[in-house]
Amino acid sequence: MKIHISNSSDEPIYEQISRQIKNQIISGELKEGEGLPSIRNLAKELQISVITTKRAYEILLAEGFVDSVTGKGTFVSSQNQELLREKKMKIVEEKLTEAIDNAKILGISKREIQQMLNLLYEEE
């Protein structure tokens, strides 16, 4: 599991962690049943507060990405394929909404956005 936190980013650290873990679960990098480091271990490795890692894990628990087994630790929960796809779609939807909002503020038309999308997609 790879986590990189940035102290200078506006995003709170616990969000950075939960987002990165979420993405790794969704992309399949973190497999079902795989164990996550303990909150204390993670805090130590990242040199941050235990309460922050606890909060990140609580978010993941609440959103169903991980399961917690008392005495054993936290594990990636079995991901329903449908739900997974839904979650992936949601992320892209959020990003697209953000881009559309920005475009509207800056006065870029829908056609221009569609052109931009085609160009960028071909580039990848």
């Binding site: 709170p12 616990y14 204390r40 805090a43 130590k44 040199q47 941050i48 507060s49 235990v50 309460i51």
Partner: protein, 288 residues
């Protein structure tokens, strides 16, 4: 699990300085940083916890025990490092250890020698011949060698180089891997706490400003920079302190979400560091 430390309504008065109504707690398994400017009362609080000086009023409970009535038991489970530990400085380290060790029931020579090796301390040398960093390491080795549950440190990193400070903080992280143990240390070097502290207790002029989790603090505190309207009475509740110059106003808020909605684009918003919080709290400065 009960809190490892519970302080309620602690009062202590000296000529010219008083600590009034300090109340805060620390649960097991966390690191708490006690911050405040020099002379704000941090060392006094720590000495009161250790019953090195008598308290005027209030209650201090450590491990659920009263710190005065069960003094010896409480102290045997605390690993304490003074801020200027210049005790028995003409003696060799070996001798100092031989004085200290018999007082602790759970003393472990193995652990102690482990730390001595890790810190590369010369046991046969006199204490006064060590550098400041080595002195601190020595007392830390002693504090960690008797299975202490609460590690209490008074300004452990002042006078230490940044490299050792980081290593020291890593050591503290290691300690709380055991979730029954906690660490409380006082410092005015807030950058140390910006990273690893779980709880922050801020003391200023002998009064408690706040005792919260670090996340709570950084979620709500922020620095705003803008025009004179910031110091308007309508924002008074949200502004903890400000500095006004001819170029504008820099202020600290403890309700950054609220202020953002009120002021909107009229100001710039930044994350507050602990240093900002210490600097701006109670400041009402106007420079022409």
């Amino acid at each position: 699990m009960e809190n490892i430390l519970e302080i309620k309504n602690l009062n202590k008065q000296y000529d010219g300085f008083s600590l009034s109504d300090i109340s805060f707690s620390l649960p097991r398994g966390y690191i708490c940083g006690l911050i405040g400017p020099n002379g704000s009362g941090k060392t006094t609080i720590i000495k009161l916890i250790m019953n090195i000086i008598p308290k005027d009023d209030g209650s201090i409970k450590v491990f659920g025990l009263d710190n005065e009535a069960d003094e010896v038991e409480v102290k045997s489970r605390i690993g304490f490092v003074h801020d200027t530990p210049d005790f028995y400085k003409e003696s060799k380290l070996k001798i100092i250890k031989e004085i200290v060790a018999p007082f602790y029931i759970e003393w472990s020579d193995e652990k102690f020698m482990g730390y001595i090796d890790k810190f590369e301390l010369p046991l046969k040398k006199k204490f006064s011949s060590l550098s400041l960093g080595m002195k601190m390491k020595f007392w830390l080795a002693i504090a960690l060698s008797h299975n202490a549950e609460l590690i209490l440190l008074d300004e452990p990193t002042s006078g230490l180089d940044p490299v050792f400070r980081r290593e020291f903080l890593e050591m503290l992280s290691d300690i709380i891997q055991d979730e029954r143990k906690s660490v409380l240390f006082s410092t005015h070097i807030t950058s140390d706490l910006d990273r690893i502290a779980d709880y922050i207790t801020f003391i200023k002029n002998g009064k408690l400003v706040f005792s919260k989790t670090k996340d709570e603090i950084f979620d709500n505190y922020g620095v705003i920079k803008g025009g004179d309207e910031i110091t308007n009475a309508k924002y008074e509740n949200s502004i903890c302190g400000y500095k006004k110059t001819s170029l504008g106003v820099d202020a600290l808020t403890n309700n950054i979400q609220g202020i953002k909605t009120s002021l909107g684009d009229k100001a710039i918003y930044e994350k507050a560091t602990l240093e900002d919080i210490m600097y701006y709290t109670d400041k009402k400065e106007t420079k022409a």
